[in-house]
Amino acid sequence: MISVYHYLVLSAILFSMGTFGVLTRKNAIVIFMCIELMLNSVNLSFIALSRHLGNMDGQVFVFFVMTVAAAEAAVGLALFITLFRNNETIEVDQVNLLKW
């Protein structure tokens, strides 16, 4: 039988994979996708715990996380387009204007 712990461990694995991707990749869009992966792993643990405790609040919170992810996608991708227009690249190690 599958317990809530199975889901929590799976969510932990996905989250740490997202962390690894954010820290290693250079392409800003791929970093963005890794952040989406982390958000989704948190959503999975929210729904698993909500089901385990018999409480609907966790699922409503997932709803809000999805809204924030949508807003983040819109603003983030607009930023990448502006960055590409000015710099001809979206690799994060070549964007170093603010670096001392």
């Binding site: 599958i2 809530v4 712990y5 199975h6 889901y7 929590l8 461990v9 799976l10 932990a12 694995i13 996905l14 740490s16 994979m17 997202g18 962390t19 690894f20 991707g21 820290l23 290693t24 990749r25 250079k26 392409n27 791929v30 963005f32 996708m33 890794c34 992966l37 989704n40 959503n43 999975l44 729904i47 698993a48 909500s50 089901r51 385990h52 405790l53 018999g54 409480n55 609907m56 609040d57 699922q59 409503v60 709803f63 999805m66 809204t67 992810a69 949508a70 807003a71 983040e72 996608a73 819109a74 603003v75 991708l77 607009a78 930023l79 990448f80 387009i81 502006t82 979206i90 190690d93």
Partner: protein, 167 residues
């Protein structure tokens, strides 16, 4: 049976996650991410949250991923041709392993606690999951729900202003 199915889908989810973080071409990463989203939607169905599975597929796999793929193709980012498309692998692997070890330690040794509600499988079968979500959303969480609409409005205006060409 259910356990085997869980492990199968979990394996597919983890493999597609590995695809996301290891592919050189951003389009392949995006397709791996879509696959992960579908696996998570399957888990939501197994957790008796069909409404969440539906909006996972519609909002994430539909809207957000189409937006990301559209931008990848708009900027025409090919495969990263240079030798190193990743950096600081050892340090990042250590950090990710630390995060994983910490979470697994707390999941293993901690106890689950929280506000216990009365939503059981029978309640979900009787009322329907969507109705329960709607009831929570429009009574207890009405103010956050309205604030969400302002957030989306601000995000849309910000995106349009950022992305338009200088007049």
């Amino acid at each position: 049976m259910e356990t085997i199915f869980f492990y199968l889908v979990a394996l597919v989810a983890v493999l597609s996650g590995l695809l996301v973080i290891s592919c050189k071409n951003p389009v392949n990463s995006a397709l791996g991410l879509v696959n992960t989203f579908f696996c998570l939607a399957i888990f939501y169905v197994m957790l008796e949250a069909p409404f969440m599975a539906a909006i996972q597929i519609m909002v994430y796999a539909g809207a957000i991923m189409v937006l990301i793929l559209f931008v990848i193709m708009l900027l025409n980012l090919g495969t990263e041709v240079r030798k190193r498309y990743m950096h600081s692998i050892a340090g990042s692997a250590t950090a990710a392993a630390l995060v994983l070890a910490m979470i697994v330690y707390f999941v293993k040794n901690g106890t689950l606690s929280g506000q216990v509600g009365d939503v059981t499988s029978e309640v979900i079968a009787n009322y329907g999951h969507t109705e329960l979500i709607g009831k929570a959303l429009f009574t207890e969480f009405l103010l956050p729900f309205e604030i969400t609409s302002i957030l989306l409005l601000v995000a849309i205006i910000g995106a349009v202003i950022l992305a338009k060409k200088e007049a």
